[in-house]
């Protein structure tokens, strides 16, 4: 479904070019869960943003290569066509749920907006679906909570709301960029389970970006390991865990304390 070929990303600042993603290629099949692992600065977040064609605000970035989504090159689309892809076909969940919601709109309004924009629902239809979605992501008493503002939700609950926004239009691909990094450990597991369940129920592909092999374990089928803007190793998760070939992967795995016991703990 997603075929990325020769992807490059270059930051341009004051005439200087800094290449942060070096001609990488990867595939994600429909319904598949794929992990991207690497340390900060390895280019994994920029890779995720490339698929959405989102440049970090205030920077100027140049994409190269091809990102074929169902045969269509996303890098060749106009900015206007891209807004129809974002949220509708490909959606994204960010790292910091505390900052990713508009503080002056109720969470219900923010989901309604999506449904009205992408699904052409009327206000009343959208609200009905919003309440369903909030229930789906595990918000209790969704009818009333829909009228609450983000500051009335805890971090974990806000991440659930963001996930509800992301899946509201049933995208084909959900990109989760460090979705649990900003959360408490106990909440992390809940959010990961939620992502798993939604992926199954909605038949979405999942692109999970993380620096933490513990998060990947049990979540995804295949893993790409990134370092310095390159994919250094890739493969099925079990093979990679059992016998990491690249020294960087070995180092990353060694950095995780007692892998495999963590999820049952």
């Amino acid at each position: 479904m997603l075929e990325v070929r020769d992807l490059t990303a270059e930051f341009i600042r004051e005439g200087e070019v800094l290449r942060v993603v070096q001609r990488i290629g990867f595939d994600i099949a429909a319904g598949e869960a794929v992990g991207f692992v690497g340390e900060s600065g390895s280019g994994k977040s920029v890779t995720a943003r490339a698929v959405m064609r989102l440049a970090p605000e205030g920077s100027s970035i140049r994409w190269g290569g091809r990102i074929l989504f169902k045969g269509q090159d996303l890098l060749a689309l106009s900015e206007r066509e891209m807004t129809d892809v974002r949220g509708r076909r490909i959606a994204m969940v960010f790292q910091d749920p505390m900052a990713s919601l508009n503080p002056v709109m109720t969470v219900g309004q923010q989901i309604d907006d999506m449904l009205m924009r992408h699904m052409s629902l009327s206000g009343a239809q959208a609200r009905k679906r919003t309440v369903e979605l909030l229930g789906l992501v595990g918000i209790r008493d969704p009818e009333h909570r829909a009228d609450d503002y983000p500051h009335q939700f805890s971090g974990g609950m806000r991440q659930r709301v963001l996930i509800a926004i992301a899946v509201s239009c049933e995208p084909d691909l959900l990109i989760a960029d460090e979705p649990t990094t900003a959360l408490d450990v106990t909440v992390q597991a809940q959010i990961l389970r939620l992502l798993m369940r939604l992926r199954r129920e909605l038949g979405m592909a999942l692109m999970l970006i993380t620096h933490d092999f513990g998060v990947i374990a049990g979540m995804v089928e295949r893993v790409y390991v990134m370092n310095n803007g390159e994919i250094v190793e890739s493969g099925a998760i079990d093979t990679l865990f059992a016998a990491p070939k690249h020294p960087y992967t070995q180092a990353l795995l060694a950095a995780v304390p007692r892998i495999g016991t963590r999820r049952s703990a």
């Binding site: 129809d84 959606a91 994204m92 960010f94 919601l101 709109m105 926004i165």
Partner: protein, 277 residues
């Protein structure tokens, strides 16, 4: 957005906003009902010129026997009307320019801000005097002039916070779900910058009162016979030893009006926590 605002500060902000609003109500009363609450016609003369306060004329009369209180009320209407309309125009222009410039950034930002810098570089009075002198001292020209003079300040106040808010995560989150740039600017950026705009608008209102009265004082205000605080002050100057109220009256009115907006601005600043976020 602080989770634990200092309660005392909050309380003081509320009190100040309350006082400011009460004062504003007085001003609005004058603007809306001006002539109908004035005891006399502001241009009706009487033989008792330069009188002190009497039962008939509470604040006395001016040099040709016109009722000072009536002239203050009707004159206030003129001054305040010009002030409000001019600031409203400056606010509208500043919002559009500041939001566009700050949000779009790049070349647009560069061009818009440089043009505004040119206006900003002139001393307010010099520019106002030049424009009014060139176009003639009518109410419309005065309003336009003041609107132009204060547009750069407004645009800057809007642009500053927009520059930082547009990098906030929720803006990127909105973009990531396919919200268009225009909708992001209006719905996800603008509401975040309302507080500083409110405070600044109030401060600019206070400044504008001074500008309007000063221009009128210099004879560049709306032409007679319509009274206004600035020209009343100018006329009364020569008799101020004989009838101090003719000077004190407009002066106090001007101070009251600008104090209204300063109190309001400070109250809003504390209440909305502008600048400490």
């Amino acid at each position: 957005m602080s989770d634990a605002p200092a309660p005392k500060k909050h309380h003081r902000g509320q009190t100040m906003v309350f006082i400011g609003l009460a004062m504003l109500a007085v001003l609005l009363l004058i603007v809306v009902f001006g002539p109908s609450i004035a005891p006399y016609s502001p241009s009706k003369t009487s033989p008792n010129s330069l009188d002190g306060p009497t039962a008939m004329h509470w604040l006395g009369t001016d040099s040709i026997g016109r009722d000072l209180l009536s002239r203050l009320i009707v004159g206030g209407r003129g001054t305040l009307f010009i002030t409000f309309v001019a600031v409203a125009l400056a606010l509208a222009a500043g919002l559009v320019l500041g939001l566009t410039s700050g949000y779009m950034g790049g070349k647009v930002d560069l061009i818009v801000m440089r043009i505004l810098d040119v206006i900003f570089a002139f001393p307010v009075f010099l520019l106002a005097i030049a424009v009014v002198a060139a176009l003639g001292p009518t109410v419309r020209n005065l309003i336009l002039t003041i609107a132009i003079v204060y547009t750069p300040a407004m645009a800057r106040v809007v642009r500053g916070p927009v520059l930082s808010v547009k990098r906030w995560d929720h803006v990127e989150a909105a973009r990531s779900v396919g919200v268009g740039e225009f909708a992001i600017a209006i719905r996800h950026v603008l509401p975040m910058v309302i507080s500083p705009i409110l405070v600044q608008t109030s401060l600019i209102l206070a400044n504008t009162i001074f500008t309007v009265t000063a221009l009128s004082f210099l004879g560049l205000g709306p032409p007679p016979p319509d009274p206004n605080w600035g020209s009343m002050l100018a006329e009364a100057r020569q008799f101020m030893e004989l009838a101090p109220l003719t000077v004190i009256g407009p002066a106090v009115a001007i101070i009251f009006a600008s104090l209204t907006f300063i109190v309001l601005a400070n109250g809003l600043r504390e209440l909305l926590d502008v600048g400490s976020r």
